[in-house]
């Protein structure tokens, strides 16, 4: 008897809760930053004509996509302007996401049917090698060491390491002014390894979290003084909160973003390079940039593809 009353109580409580949250979801507008991206820029984003009759003989990954009839693409979900998941709609948006859609259309798959899968930095190589994603687009820098594990199409964007600071902080002007300042980035990321190995600040001042958003939170609460990573990522955060944050603007590295592909699939890599080259030539790339990262106000620098 008591159990039944309890069960009914739980059920009623659960129902009320779900209705309540459902109402909340319907009524609440999405966050300002994300809303901007999906709202006003949606019109400006180019559409990608889906290619027909694409056939890549000798590409195992393409054969897999073909038989599945759909794509799984690896991406980041916490990088405004590049790869970000809207918490209310669950949709991905940003420069990287648009590149992923462009490639999908070029391969003959409707971009609407892509399933985006969030893959954190540390798991990228393994996810690609295991075939859990067909390709990966998420601020993935091309390096020689990584080339031994995966292969890259692109670069589709060239970024550089930079610093994000509080708007009212004029003491940090570049990498040589970091001594004595607390610098934050993602655990083990290339930028933080650079800060550590080049001794740009004291080891005790290096702060590492799992996500950039946690670093930005700490920056705003003044527990750290600078967040460092590629300028593209930082510009995304700065454009979300321009009253409190700014990017210093002195890049001190070159990061070429590539599309991560299965190491043994040269056929697919050549095809993706061809799609990217076409987008660079016919202005689609520029349109994508203007509708996403270009909103931060900085000019685009077209990359040169490396076909190896």
């Amino acid at each position: 008897m008591r159990i039944r009353t309890l069960a009914v109580g739980v059920l009623v409580g659960g129902l009320t809760l779900t209705t309540l949250t459902a109402c909340g979801k319907e009524g609440t507008p999405s966050t300002p930053g994300a809303g901007d991206q999906s709202g006003s820029s949606a019109a400006a984003l180019p559409s990608y004509p889906v290619a027909s009759g694409v056939d890549l003989a000798g590409s195992p990954v393409f054969a897999k996509m073909k038989s599945a009839g759909a794509l799984t693409v690896g991406a980041k979900d916490d990088q405004p302007g590049l790869g970000q998941k809207d918490p209310t709609t669950g949709k991905f948006g940003g420069f990287d996401i648009e590149i992923a859609k462009l490639v999908s259309a070029g391969l003959g798959f409707d971009p609407e049917k892509i399933t985006f899968r969030t893959v954190d930095s540390g798991a990228r190589e393994q996810t690609i090698a295991n075939g859990d994603v067909n390709y990966y687009v998420g601020t993935y820098s091309i390096t020689d060491k990584r080339k031994a594990l995966v292969s890259f199409a692109g670069p589709y964007f060239v970024a550089g390491q930079d610093l994000l600071v509080r708007k009212d902080d004029s003491s940090i002007t570049g990498k040589d002014t970091l001594k004595g300042k607390k610098v934050c980035s993602v655990t083990g990321s290339t930028p933080i390894q650079k800060i550590r190995s080049e001794n740009l600040t004291e080891p005790g001042n290096i702060v590492e979290f799992q996500k950039y958003s946690q670093c930005v939170e700490k920056l705003l609460s003044k527990d750290v003084d600078a967040v460092t990573t590629d300028d593209a990522i930082l510009k995304g955060y700065a454009s979300q909160d321009p009253d409190n944050l700014k990017v210093v603007g002195q890049t001190f590295s070159t990061e070429k973003y590539g599309i991560g592909l299965n190491k043994d699939d040269k056929v697919l890599r050549d095809k993706v390079n061809e799609i990217l080259q076409k987008a660079l030539d016919d202005g689609t790339w520029q349109k994508i940039y203007d509708a996403t990262l270009g909103k931060s106000g900085s000019a685009a620098k077209k990359p040169t593809l490396e076909k190896y």
């Binding site: 540390g122 798991a123 190589e125 990584r146 594990l149 655990t187 083990g188 990321s189 702060v207 590492e208």
Partner: protein, 215 residues
């Protein structure tokens, strides 16, 4: 082998950090856990309630949440400033102490009530009975579960990697950025932990031999 030797600058200091983290929080949680166990068996109802509440809360909260509290929420309270390493030690201590408390308490329950009564008959205070009669015997009888809890603590230290403490748990992300083979890297990290746990098991065996209680 290459993965290990090319990245000794990671494995060395990072494992050292793991050991520091472990030793400090092991000492902290052994002390705090024993105090909590004493609270839980004390004759004062308020003390017992405090001990029970602590254990219930700390043992039922996932460790990552405890970490997140000390790293993200606690600084907003503006009490004492905790850097990331001390924050990690605090989080691990607060969490592990609840488990140590229950292990010690189970040890206390193995000591026959008659001994406490005999102590009281001799005129010993509660503190004296606990400290000189009960606890020494209790600790001797719980060496294996105590060491198991410490082994769990050792492995739990890897969570600190997500909260700005560069220890063994962070090695994988570093290797990934350096483009090293992560699976091989993980094997080396696992081997490191096996060695550390082997040391603890050795301590357990020798303590068991030395302290075995004839009943």
């Amino acid at each position: 082998m290459d993965v290990l030797f090319n990245n000794l600058d990671l494995f060395g200091p990072f494992f050292l950090r793991t050991i520091e983290l472990f030793v400090l929080s092991a000492v902290g949680s052994l002390v705090l856990g024993t105090v909590l166990a004493m609270l839980r068996v004390s004759p004062v109802p308020v003390f017992r309630a405090v001990g029970t509440a602590y254990v219930t809360i700390a043992r039922n909260t996932p460790l990552t949440l405890v970490f997140a509290f000390f790293v993200f929420a606690y600084p907003l309270l503006d009490i004492v400033k905790l850097d990331y390493f001390p924050a990690a030690v605090t989080a691990l201590t607060v969490y592990t102490a609840a488990f140590i408390c229950e292990v010690v308490r189970s040890g206390i329950n193995t000591v026959p009530v008659g001994q406490a009564e005999a102590g009281r008959a001799l005129g010993l205070t509660f503190g004296q009975i606990l400290g000189q009669v009960v606890l020494p015997q209790a600790l001797r009888s719980v060496v294996p579960p105590l060491i198991s809890t410490l082994i769990a603590l050792l492995k739990n230290t890897t969570i600190a990697a997500g909260f700005s403490v560069a220890e063994a748990g962070a090695i994988r992300s570093y290797l990934s950025e350096r483009g090293e083979n992560q699976l091989v890297g993980l094997l080396w990290v696992a081997l490191g932990f096996i060695i550390l746990v082997a040391v603890l098991s050795f301590v357990q065996r020798s303590l068991e031999k030395r302290w075995s209680v004839a009943r």
